[in-house]
């Protein structure tokens, strides 16, 4: 393989990793605030269908992406209201959100099936994009890809370097104490859930506007669940989410190359590799109990009702 091919492969890996990275980063913030939202898949697909629909109607994929962010956030509001204001069970509500999202997206998207979509074109910066070999890799990808990297860095900085981030983490670790200190627990959690929804929405838009510019029912095909696994995989650290998402993306792409090269490993095994890798890392993490405990939000998935 020459360099051009290698770069092309790396770009494929970036594309495969970006939606996972976005959704997982959003979910990480949600979980750090002590809320477990299993509705990632549902929010993602709502983002995918809204983004696609908006892009088709307006002819502008960027408006599509913005609409997807708004739709994801709006959809997560439903979850936030049920689990935070009404203190319903987070696991059940999250699952319901996923099922609702899959069904609702099919209904919204019915008129858009079978239409070739508008692809969000890769950016093209004069001179920089034209640099041989690395130009296209560093300066010639789509805007959502760059956003995802900025987002991880921003979330990492926010959670561990700002006062607001500390407050969010305290809400996730011990909402009672945070409440006693005057931190608005419910409001913080609302904002976190909305942020998670927005990120999932954007992840969905990446699928329907960049990855495969089309709308088909169920096109997220379980990526929301992988994003959820990645958060645990990363033991709630943004930098590790980045590593995890790219590891997963790389294995996903590598298995096809291994097959095309005729490497004599059963195809079924290669296809399951990304999932096996996830399980393997989860086992490794679970072995180091202290590290896990330090990072796990202590009140994860427990409803908080003030004054009870």
């Amino acid at each position: 393989m020459d360099l051009v091919v290698i770069v092309s492969v790396i770009i494929s890996v970036c594309a495969a990793s970006t939606p996972l990275l976005l959704a997982a980063t959003g979910e990480l913030v949600v979980e750090r605030s002590g809320v477990l939202n299993l509705g990632v898949e549902g929010m993602m697909i709502i983002g995918a269908v809204t983004g696609f629909a908006m892009a088709q109607v307006t002819g502008n994929p960027y408006l599509g992406a913005l609409a997807a962010i708004a739709a994801g956030a709006f959809f997560s509001l439903l979850f936030a209201f049920l689990t935070l204001s009404l203190a319903t069970n987070q696991v059940a509500t999250g699952l319901a959100l996923t099922i609702l999202g899959l069904g609702l997206s099919g209904m919204i998207g019915e008129g858009f099936v079978g239409q070739p979509g508008i692809k969000m074109e890769a950016v093209n910066i004069p001179f920089l994009t034209d640099i041989p070999v690395v130009g296209k890799l560093l300066f010639g990808q789509d805007v959502i890809f760059y956003s995802s990297l900025i987002l991880v860095a921003a979330v990492s900085w926010f959670l561990f370097r700002t006062r607001a981030g500390l407050m969010l983490r305290s809400v996730g670790d011990n909402p009672q104490s945070a409440h006693a200190l005057g931190i608005p627990v419910i409001r913080t959690r609302y904002l976190a859930v909305l942020f998670g929804g927005a990120c999932s929405g954007l992840a969905g838009a990446h699928l329907s506007l960049v990855y495969v510019p089309q709308w088909v029912e169920g096109m997220t095909a379980g990526r929301g669940w992988i994003a959820l696994a990645l958060v645990v995989f990363a033991s709630w650290r943004p930098a590790r989410v980045l590593v995890g998402a790219y590891l997963f993306g790389a294995v996903t792409i590598a298995q096809f190359h291994a097959q095309a090269l005729g490497i004599p490993i059963p195809a079924q095994f290669l296809t399951s590799l990304p999932y096996l890798a996830t399980i393997f890392v989860l086992v490794l993490i679970a072995r180091n109990r202290r590290m896990t405990l330090i990072n796990t939000p202590a009140s994860l998935s427990q409803p908080f009702v003030p004054d009870r």
């Binding site: 494929s12 099922i99 699928l207 095909a221 096809f256 097959q259």
Partner: protein, 360 residues
């Protein structure tokens, strides 16, 4: 997967209720039901079956009622949705994916008065089960010839779903077609272990193109590979429906599955009370396998393809005619010998020239 089952179940239950109401009011209506592997909007395999369902509605108007379940998982998970349909008053049920084979036969045992039609399989354990399929491999042969003419690298890529006879047959037919033009033609096969996952199909297409393939063909159900091929500037074949919209400068042709004639004739048979168990395997001659217009190729290639289609339609040409060697170099078909139908339906080996090891 679990969610989909839940949805399918919920749908089956709701349908059971509504169906009882409607059969009570209009007892004479014949009810034809369909079980789909993907969403009706996949614009591929399931889409074409649903076109067939709509053709049935159109043909019989008020005399018929149809229902369908989409995105029903394969294997044992399909049992309950299929039985739910049978219970809801369907007179004839079409199950449209290979691994609905055992659930369909089990349901047939429980509901002897309901007619079952299983697509692409080979088990008929009860008299109320029929099998039907189309000779898509005929179209693959034509595609192989076109690929060999159009490819500059001499290598085509094949995105495959599961190693079942239907898929293996397509791969073999494609390479035989290609070799009839260029004996050294190579085929790279990538298995994605899914019928429908657009991003994954796109990944597979990208990987194949990065490995030097300049013709992409697929045996999966979405249009993703076509879009990737269009983006990368290589050529591709559409699958199951005409995908020209997704690659106006990319699609060479597509195999179009036309199920409408079969579905109409079978529903008619139920209405007339003449339904009998059959094992139908039809192709170009009967109009079940149709090629989309030959586009994005020079006239002489299109002419060759048209001639091949004519020869297959007339029966003059059969893709699986010797001499054909298996992948390991042993002789499968002697010169002039045609493959028997049993071997074709259960095909589980590659012919020579496929650059892949068949997953077992």
């Amino acid at each position: 997967m679990k969610k989909k089952t839940a949805m399918a179940l919920a749908a089956a239950i709701t349908m059971a209720f509504t169906a009882q109401v409607s059969t009570a009011s209009a007892a004479k209506k014949t009810k034809a039901c369909f079980v789909y592997i993907g969403p009706v909007g996949d614009f591929g395999w399931t889409y074409q079956h649903d076109q067939g369902r709509q053709a049935v509605e159109k043909a019989f108007g008020d005399e018929v009622e149809t229902a369908y379940l989409e995105s029903v998982p394969e294997s044992s998970e399909a049992q309950r949705p299929i039985e739910g349909l049978a219970r809801s008053g369907c007179n004839i049920i079409f199950t449209t994916s290979f691994n609905y084979m055992d659930p369909t036969n089990k349901a047939a045992k429980k509901f002897p008065d309901v007619k079952f039609e299983h697509a692409t399989g080979f088990k008929r354990e009860y008299p109320n089960v029929s099998n039907y399929s189309s000779k898509f491999y005929q179209g693959r042969y034509v595609q192989g010839q076109i690929a060999a003419k159009m490819s500059k690298t001499g290598v085509a890529g094949y995105i495959a779903s599961f190693p079942i006879p239907e898929v293996v047959r397509g791969i073999n037919s494609f390479i035989l077609g290609a070799q009839s033009v260029n004996p050294d033609f190579k085929l790279k096969v990538v298995w994605v272990s899914t019928w429908f996952d657009p991003p994954k199909e796109a990944d597979a297409a990208k990987a194949l193109i990065d490995q030097g393939v300049d013709i992409v063909t697929q045996h999966t159900d979405s249009t993703a590979a076509m879009q990737v091929a269009a983006e990368r500037g290589v050529l591709a074949f559409g699958q199951a429906s005409d995908m020209i919209k997704f690659g106006p400068k990319t699609q060479l042709t597509a195999i179009i599955d036309d199920w409408a004639p079969y579905y109409i004739s079978r529903v008619k048979a139920v209405m007339d009370g003449t339904w009998k168990q059959v094992n139908v395997w039809e192709g170009m001659a009967e109009g079940n396998v149709v090629m989309a217009p030959f586009t994005n190729m020079p006239d002489d290639v299109a002419k060759m393809a048209t001639e091949t289609v004519a020869k297959i339609t007339s029966g003059e040409l059969e893709p699986f005619t010797g001499p054909v060697m298996k992948q390991d170099g042993t002789v499968w078909l002697k010169a002039g010998e045609r493959a028997d139908i049993g071997t074709m339906l259960g095909m589980n080996f590659y012919v020579k020239g496929v650059d892949d090891k068949l997953p077992q």
